[in-house]
Amino acid sequence: MPASVKIRKGLDIRLKGGAHGDTHALSAADRFSIHPTDFHGLIPRMAVKAGTEVKAGDVLFTDKKNPEIQFVSAISGTAQEPVRGEKRRILRVDVVAGGTGEVTFPGLQTTASAGDVRSAMLAHGFWPMLRQRPFDVMPGPESQPRDIFVSAYDSAPLAPSAAQALGDRMESFRQGLTFLNALLDGGKKVQLGIEAGDDTFSGVTEADITSFSGPHPAGNVGVQIHEVAPMNKGEVVWTIGLQDVANLGEGLTAGRFVGQRTVALTGSRSQPALLSTTIGTPMAHIAKDRVSMEDTRVISGNVLTGTERGEDGALGFFDHQVTCIPEGHEPLFFLTKGWLGPGFDKFSASRAFPTWLMPRGKEYDLNTNNNGEERAFVVSGQYDAVFPFDIYPVQLIKSIMVGDIDRMEKLGIYEVAPEDFALCEYVCTSKLAVQGIVRKGLDQMIEEFA
């Protein structure tokens, strides 16, 4: 029996349009794209010129600060001129499909040393799958983690279950865990967080397993770190996604880059489905024939932490979900749909709306309306109810707003990532951009230590 943790604070936002049933293989897309913006703080240095033929596994760009870290193409084809935004910042790097072949390297044995695993991950495009706390950024090439955490439980709205996401890749997943274990000092194992009652991982011996139950964010890796082994100043913890562990296991064993991704297409504006594809698939390809695009917001990721990619964007590097919900730019008359309306169509954490009267099974078709304007901070206790950390969220946010580095540190900023505050932002009466504030705080900390 794994250790079990029950999370009490949080909120499950019940949305329409969950994906169920069999996984369908999506046809190969005509393009592969990486958004360097998925890796916070990354400045890419292009390694290929527009028009160059690349094979799957060829380097597209490197990290300007750490040139050892390589970002590779998942398909073979022709590299394009990068899409740039303001100040010539690179927003997207594209490869148009065509051609064959892939870069190979000698596969690793399960007994591979830490050094072998590390250099293979750096050289062949696996390193960017890692994220580190503190600061929620990609770890540097020399970084040595205290622990590696994997959450096999995505508790976000409409997220796929571990069984859906992993499919039949258990063998690769276990190989991936073995490689990650090699990176840890002192014979430690990867920490794996699973959903209580999920028996997908019952045979897994390569990780220390803890089961989590309770409302979202019980599946957030930050919450799991906090419960299992909270972080202190100076410590570094790595996290990596469930499917990326399988990609790592399969790729390092076979000696090639693997970027498989099973994606749950979800939301009220979609015909929900489970689709097997690769990272970097254009959103339009995933949405084709399955999403009614008119007045729809197509989000890579879930409604709380995902990003809107626009028409030409691609699936986010870390995402295994696409959510399609209606836009909400209709003004709302106060007595019918607005602030004084009955609000049967609104999902609220507060009892000021009749959500709590509705049957537990009712699913909501929420749109992107802000449901009010930004206001001064008035209501207290609201964030605490959905924030299962031993951290005072409001005080931490205020310390960030005034830029008090010392106070941020004391109040526990090393343990958190913006995603941990997503529910605070959702429930906020004053409609503050809480995740953005936390990101700003983390960036201030990075600067302070740079």
């Binding site: 949305l15 202190n232 410590e235 917001r297 989000i299 409604v303 709380l304 995902g306 809107e308 959510t323 919900i325 836009e327 909400g328 730019h329 003004p331 008359f333 106060f334 019918t336 607005g338 602030w339 609000g343 609104k346 999902f347 609220s348 954490a349 507060s350 009892r351 000021a352 709306f353 749109n367 992107t368 309306n369 802000n370 449901n371 009010g372 304007e373 206001r375 001064a376 901070f377 008035v378 207290s380 206790g381 605490d384 951290i391 005072y392 409001v394 005080q395 004391k410 109040l411 526990g412 932002e425 959702y426 429930v427 906020c428 009466t429 409609k431 951009a433 809480v434 995740q435 953005g436």
Partner: protein, 414 residues
């Protein structure tokens, strides 16, 4: 409703924007338009969906919670008026002269509300216009609370002055809604209490009572003082002395200030503070919707009861011998616990802090009221005092959290 919105956008709005004739009144237009229509703003960065709750609905629900107290208070003004004239007795059925009582009450209450809102919102509009920001909804609640805690016969100009003082000095100088340290409505009340002590004491608790006295139509033995005013007279008197016995008779069963009358609220007092029952109905609404902190309300009441029990044990004067339950249903205690102490801006912010804040607030309310008869209404002083103390309470709660984290770090390093 689309047609109405279109009309506003196309015909009305241009007058307030750009070169429009009324562009100085943009703030007013914006406040009214967003009152009618929640704007079609969509989420930009961060979360893509938002909870339905906003500050307008939150504030509106607080006002809904005040309605029982407001209605009862309106009725009670009439009730006390006819009692003072001897037209009815305390034994009369409740519904006697129902309409007359409500009319008398409404004549008193409506102008108070109008003056409070007109003064406060006027100032808010001007300041928002000067700073170019949108109107916050905070004053919707403060503007209703101020008339509810005024003595019935307070001159309207004093209400206007007090409201202006409270909005400017207690709120706007600190940066507006959400930034104030003191509760705005209580600041208005405290301002009157200290600026006009003469006008704020004596016979202003019953409509027209001074005129009735002068005209010789006042009922026999009717003084029009509040429960706390009577009790203040017992301080410094022997427990079983003549004065004390006389006062205590009113608090026994069947007296004007019996436990039941104090609980229901058929006693003289500020407009809407007299009924503990109405305040508790409001508390139920606030707690049920999650808008008022149940931690503050319950610990405030417990704090008052504990002080009451301690006074009972001491029993140094007649005031102290009043039962703890009787203590907390008198005066503004319940109204303060439910509507004033729970103001989220001026109260403690942390959950642990709220327990301490509420408990001490209730504790000091009863203590001040009994120890210092010059301040019969201890609740006002106690809550304002706790408003000032709240950041300190939170400070210690958060320091404990910080120390926990530091301890963990030390353990990890060792």
């Amino acid at each position: 409703m689309k047609a109405l919105h279109k009309l506003i956008e196309e015909r009305v709005k241009p007058n307030f924007t750009g070169e429009g004739k009324l562009k100085r009144f943009w703030v007013v237009f914006d406040a009214l338009e967003t009152f009618l229509f929640t704007p079609g703003h969509t989420t930009k960065k961060g979360v893509h969906v938002r909870d339905g709750i906003d500050l307008k609905r939150t504030m509106f629900l607080v006002i809904v919670a005040m309605v029982p107290a407001l209605l009862f208070g309106t009725w009670n003004i009439g009730h006390q008026y006819y009692l003072s004239l001897g037209d009815i007795t305390t034994a009369d059925p409740w519904n006697a002269m129902l309409l007359d009582k409500l009319i008398v009450g409404a004549i008193k209450v409506v102008p108070l509300i109008v003056v409070s809102y007109a003064t406060g919102l006027g100032i808010e509009f001007v300041i928002a216009g000067m700073n170019g920001h949108a109107i916050n909804e905070g004053f919707l609640v403060s503007g209703m609370l101020i008339p509810l805690i005024m003595p019935v016969d307070v001159p309207l100009w004093m209400v206007a002055v007090a409201t202006a003082f409270a909005v400017l000095i207690a709120k706007e100088v600190f940066g507006g809604t959400g930034m104030n340290i003191l509760n705005v409505a209580l600041t208005a009340r405290a301002f009157l209490f200290f600026a006009y002590p003469k006008q704020m004491s004596g016979e202003i608790w019953i409509h027209n009572v001074m005129a009735s006295k002068a005209g010789g139509v006042l009922a026999d033995g009717y003084t029009g003082a509040t429960a706390l005013g009577h009790l203040a007279n017992t301080v410094g008197q022997p427990v079983s002395g003549e004065v004390s016995n006389g006062v205590m008779a009113m608090f026994a069963d069947g007296g004007l200030f019996s436990l039941m009358n104090c609980f229901i609220g058929t006693i003289p007092g500020s407009v809407a503070e007299t009924s503990a029952l109405a305040a508790l109905i409001g508390a139920a609404i606030l707690i049920w919707t999650g808008i008022g902190s149940w931690r503050i309300i319950s610990s405030f009441i417990v704090g008052g009861l504990v002080m009451g029990v301690i006074f009972n044990a001491l029993g140094l004067n007649a005031y102290m011998t009043i039962g703890p339950v009787h203590q907390i249903v008198m005066g503004g205690f319940m109204f303060g616990a439910v509507f004033m102490a729970t103001d989220p801006v001026s109260a403690a912010q942390t959950n642990t802090g709220k327990w301490v804040y509420g408990f001490l607030g209730g504790f000091f309310s009863i203590m001040i009221r009994v120890f210092n008869p010059a301040y019969p209404e201890g609740v006002m002083m106690a809550i304002l005092f706790m408003n000032v103390m709240a950041p300190t309470i939170d400070h210690y709660v958060i320091e404990a959290n910080i120390r926990r984290r530091e301890k963990r770090l030390t353990a990890a390093v060792a």
